[in-house]
Amino acid sequence: MVNGIGGGGGAGRAAIDAALQQMRARQRSMGAGPSEGGAPAEAPSFAEALKSGVAAVEGRVDRANELHLDVVSGKLDIHEVAAQIKESEITFQFALQVRNKLLDAYREVMRMSV
């Protein structure tokens, strides 16, 4: 079994959750003030959007896992199969890029230590 996205072996969502938690903690420790009202309200919606994006990707990979069974049981024609292969690849690439960007941002925030 291969882990596509995730830090120390966790599933995609869990690792992203952990990263977001640490970022929020960091933000709070760097001082409240004006960000108290604004930042916490923004962070959850970003996290939600990201989580639902990851869920969609996981759904795609799950379907890719079952592709051969769908073909054998007569559910897909040959062009649908080809399209699904390509789509899985693109979705996966996209998710990898998002993860990389997120980790970059996370490290950036970590670097801003006192």
């Binding site: 996205i5 079952e66 051969h68 690849e89 996966f92």
Partner: protein, 121 residues
């Protein structure tokens, strides 16, 4: 997010079945004039499909293997031989495409796996 190993194994098995079938069909064509000869085929995808439709568990499905079977259903000619070279050739064409289809799916999975392995930040 996991690309499961069982899927790749099944695809490999499907490819083996297609290779086996190519040989069996070629043998049928070679035996088209042999009196009493009944054609053979490789049965695998049909077994899987029946199992899926009956709702068999994933584990059960993963245990199936390709099998060589004799076709006693097809009407033989007067000499007892039931090979139609034209039908065998048609099946050979489809079989070749099946092989390509399985190979494409397998290489698609391999790409996902290698992307995951090679992705570093």
């Amino acid at each position: 997010m996991r690309v499961k190993a069982e899927g790749s194994e099944m695809l490999l098995r499907l490819m083996s079945a297609a290779t086996m079938r190519g040989d069996v069909l070629a043998n049928n064509i070679a035996s088209q004039s042999m009196p009493g000869y009944r054609r053979r085929d490789v049965v695998f995808e049909e077994t899987l499909r029946n199992a899926i439709e009956k709702g068999a568990s994933k584990r059960k499905i993963e245990e199936f293997q390709p099998e060589i079977a004799i076709d006693f259903d097809r009407e033989p000619r007067a000499d007892g031989n039931n090979v139609s070279p034209e039908e065998e050739r048609t099946m050979l064409r489809e079989n070749r495409l099946r092989y390509e289809l399985y190979a494409a799916m397998l290489s698609g999975r391999s790409r996902l796996i290698s992307q995951a392995i090679n992705s570093t930040t």
